[in-house]
């Protein structure tokens, strides 16, 4: 589903290279965990995947379902099914949450040549998904993410994911800032979306989340490269020993 080949990407503004020859393959149905020390480029990778223009790809390619997506802008990639749950969800005062959800869902449908949702159908879907994620209706009446607590913002990201039904879900530290109960709710939300035609990339620092969302593969990112890949036991090793040995071996 996702094939990243020798990817190099830099900050457009000053040319600093952050992703330096990264290779990663994620198959349909797979859950891949990406771990790595602070500043290793995990969030940057998620941005480059979703088409953020602050970064430039200078070498390599990203194939999604066999096709390069480098020429697509962020909204086209989203409409094709790539979803990023942000590490820091963005507050947008003046845009009502419900309006935002409706526009996003319908614009994606339009792009794919599907009919727009009727208002009652839209309302039904939101209500149902919000209840699953234990999101209070009051929250949905506020401007997008404005005044949401850290945990509420993360839950709202998963609500958007559930409603948009993407094919490739990238979760950037969705577990940070969540209490134990919320972590469980969010993990259930993600697991509910697991399916043979969907892939999930989970960026996290902690084994705790991976106890709930059990990964098929684990990859360690360091200085913009994948320096080690393995199965779920790799995450346990990292939890026990940290990154020092791996980094030394890679150096």
């Amino acid at each position: 589903m996702l094939e990243i080949k020798n990817l190099h990407a830099r900050i457009a503004e000053d040319g600093t290279e952050i992703i330096r020859g990264l290779n990663l393959t994620v198959k349909a149905g797979e859950v891949a965990a990406i771990m790595g020390p602070n500043g290793s480029g995990k969030s940057t990778l998620s941005y480059v995947l979703s088409g953020r223009e602050d970064y430039e790809v200078t070498e390599g390619d990203i194939l999604y379902n066999g096709e390069s997506i480098l020429e697509l802008d962020a909204s086209e990639r989203a409409a094709k099914g790539i979803f990023l749950a942000f590490q820091y969800p963005v507050e947008i005062p003046g845009v009502a949450t419900m309006q935002f959800l409706k526009v996003a869902m319908n614009e994606q449908r339009k792009y794919r040549g599907e009919d727009e949702l009727t208002t009652p159908e839209f309302m039904r879907r939101v209500k149902e998904a919000a209840a699953e994620l234990k999101i209070a209706p009051e929250m949905l009446r506020r401007p997008l993410n404005v005044g949401f607590s850290g945990g509420e913002k993360k839950r709202a990201e998963i609500l958007q994911m559930a409603l948009l039904e993407p094919k490739l879900c990238v979760l950037d530290e969705t577990d940070s800032g969540l209490d134990i109960d919320a972590l469980k709710v969010v993990a259930d939300g993600v697991n509910a979306l697991r399916s043979p035609d969907r892939a999930v990339v989970v960026i996290t620092h902690y084994q705790r989340l991976l106890d709930y969302i059990v990964p098929d593969t684990v990859h360690v990112l360091y200085k913009g490269q994948v320096i080690k890949s393995g199965d779920k036991t790799l995450a346990h090793e990292l939890e026990a020993k940290g990154y020092a040995d791996l980094i030394e071996a890679a150096a």
């Binding site: 602050d54 003046g94 401007p143």
Partner: protein
């Protein structure tokens, strides 16, 4: 030879003086009004239109910017249009002439032309100062308008829309409006042109709020892309009077809207909100002065500018706090979204404080669309054009939503804004 050097009049100055000369003998007014008109036009002829050297016109050099003034056309006629808020009582003023139809309970009105003829208008025709070019032009040429009185204690259920429609040519109107003690009303002062040919409009509203009056006054300026609009509103707030003044500029080629107010009764409160939607080659100036004259008065001003293309915006805001006006609370902010490299906005917020126990502040910001917000929206599949539109809309919608008590009004104003954005963005 005259030692005082006479200025060489510009085409626009000549056209204005000619408009006066052509109508002499036909302009309404008693002896006092006519002689005041003469003085005003004489001042215009000798001093000319203000230039950037006049401090309050520094960013709007009217003498240079006003290239031409279309001749008045007595046969010009514009049809009234639908009210901004459905169900409003509409008072149409077509081509400068008021049309008095049915008035809601608690409202009395008469044509301003009558006040000119019987001379009762004369005191109000005085200019605010030597730099009051709008007062001068309007005082010289005004023919019509409405004098409106809202009765003491009246609670108007539906908005009153003063609808000043113009097709082309000139119109000069005045609206003295007094709100009785304890009255509550929403007034929409609407200016629009129905044709593409240029028009030149001046309009002065003179608003008085008696004790405890609670008023929402909305100026909706929707002139055409070739039009000049010179607007002025003066207001005086009595004890515990509350005015929510909302100005939307969504049209015009050369626009100056002046707002001059006094908080002269304790407990008086002004909320000023301005939305300037600017595009094309337009020049739009909102100039505001407020004097807090007595203790315990409050005001809050927020101006939001959205500037596209080669448009230029100006906001000047001056808050004066008199020596005795202790406990004044005044906050002024001017926020701008500049959406093109050639767009421009000049903001000049000022505080002049003579009292010592006050809370006053001002701030101005200028920014482009927030890139992080834009990316977030794109990442959800919203195409860039649509996402930008939503963010621009959000920037101004925030202050419309403050009128949440009146859902129809909020909806109507949001409609005006999104219609404008759809056309220009």
């Amino acid at each position: 030879m005259n030692m005082q050097q006479a200025i060489k009049m510009t085409a626009a100055e000549t056209a204005l003086v000619d408009a006066y000369t052509a109508e002499i003998g036909d302009l309404p007014g008693d002896g006092a009004v006519l002689s005041l008109r003469d003085t005003l036009v004489h001042e215009l002829r000798t001093a000319g239109l203000p230039t950037r050297r006049v401090e309050s016109w520094h960013y709007t050099d009217l003498r240079t910017l006003l290239r031409a003034v279309p001749a008045a056309d007595p046969s010009a006629f514009a049809d009234r249009v639908d009210a901004v808020v459905p169900g409003s009582s509409v008072l149409p003023v077509r081509s400068g002439q008021a049309d008095l139809k049915s008035l809601p309970n608690g409202v009395t009105a008469r044509s301003y032309t009558e006040s000119l003829i019987d001379g009762s208008a004369v005191a109000g025709l005085a200019v605010l100062g030597s730099d009051d070019a709008i007062g001068r032009i309007n005082g010289g040429l005004v023919r019509g308008g409405l004098e409106i009185e809202i009765a003491e204690g009246a609670q108007l259920e539906a908005p009153l829309e003063i609808q000043v429609v113009q097709s082309h040519g000139q119109a000069h109107t005045r609206f003295p409006v007094s709100f009785g003690a304890g009255s509550k009303a929403t007034v929409i002062e609407r200016h629009l042109s129905t044709h593409a040919e240029p028009s030149f409009v001046s309009s002065v509203s003179d608003v008085t709020l008696a004790e405890g009056a609670d008023v929402i006054w909305i100026i909706v300026q929707q002139q055409g892309a070739a039009d000049t609009h010179l607007g002025q509103i003066r207001f005086n707030l009595g004890k515990d009077a509350k005015l929510h003044l909302f100005v939307i500029n969504a049209g015009g080629k050369l626009v100056r809207q002046e707002i001059h107010g006094k908080a002269s009764g304790e407990g008086a409160d002004l909320t000023l909100r301005g939305i300037n939607l600017l595009g094309g080659d337009s020049h739009t100036d909102v100039t505001f002065t407020l004097s807090h004259d007595v203790p315990h008065t409050t005001s809050s001003e927020i101006i939001r500018n959205v500037v596209f293309d080669r448009a230029k915006g100006v906001f000047q805001g001056k808050i004066l706090v008199a020596k005795d006006a202790q406990k004044t609370d005044a906050k002024m902010a001017c926020n701008t979204l500049l959406l093109s490299d050639d767009a421009d906005l000049s903001a000049k917020p000022e505080l002049e404080i003579f009292a010592d126990d006050v809370q006053c502040g001002h701030g101005a910001t200028v920014a482009d669309i927030d890139h992080t917000q834009l990316f977030y929206m794109l990442a959800r599949g919203i195409p860039e054009k649509k996402a930008r539109g939503m963010l621009v809309n959000a920037f101004v919608a925030e202050i419309v939503e403050e009128l949440e008590d009146d859902e129809e009004l909020v909806e109507a104003l949001e409609g005006i804004i999104s219609a404008w954005l759809e056309k220009h963005a």
